[in-house]
Amino acid sequence: MVFLTIAVFITTVLYGYSSVNKNMANTASLLPIIITFAIAVFMIFFIARRYQDIKQGQPLEDERSKKVMTKAAATSFYFTLYWLLFISFFEDFFADQLFKAEHLDASQTVGGGIAGMAIAWIVCWLYYNKKGKLI
């Protein structure tokens, strides 16, 4: 998890740096940076929580936390299917509004799909961990 967070941070910084170098610091290039940064911040919060748990002598995982993970993964998977359909249906709209282009290229489509998947998982995890009835 620590390695993954560092990797996400490095990728965000490199992408931001290359965007600025290419004079692409507009809404279209800032959006993925903001989304990736938000994901990295959540991961830091997650790691800090785990670190506190270790200090308090609590187990990192138990049957409920595993169930939360599974349920969050399952729900975000369904959401992602709709999200990918949404991207493909409204591809022209996104391309025009965000990138002023006729079509999205492969990296933009895949990037949007992955970012949506990550955000969906985070939202589902937060919901099930705080409010969800796991019955």
Binding site: D62, E63, R64, S65, K133, L134
Partner: protein, 62 residues
């Protein structure tokens, strides 16, 4: 499924944290169990009942 964990826990002056450590789960799990927002596995129900020295039937009501 309702339960009387809180009631039996009070008899032994156990905190949620102490009970959680005794049965090897996170404190939130005990919190959600007591609020009726989580149904435990049979093993966890058995472990909690053993720690609180009651039968599973007395601890959980259907």
């Amino acid at each position: 499924m309702d339960n009387r964990i809180k009631e039996f826990r009070a008899r032994y002056n156990l905190t949620q944290d102490e009970l959680a450590k005794k049965v090897g789960v996170r404190r939130e799990t005990i919190v959600f169990l007591e609020q009726g927002k989580y149904n435990p596995s049979l093993k966890l129900a058995h472990d909690i009942a053993s720690e609180l020295k009651v039968k599973i039937d007395d601890l959980f009501t259907f």
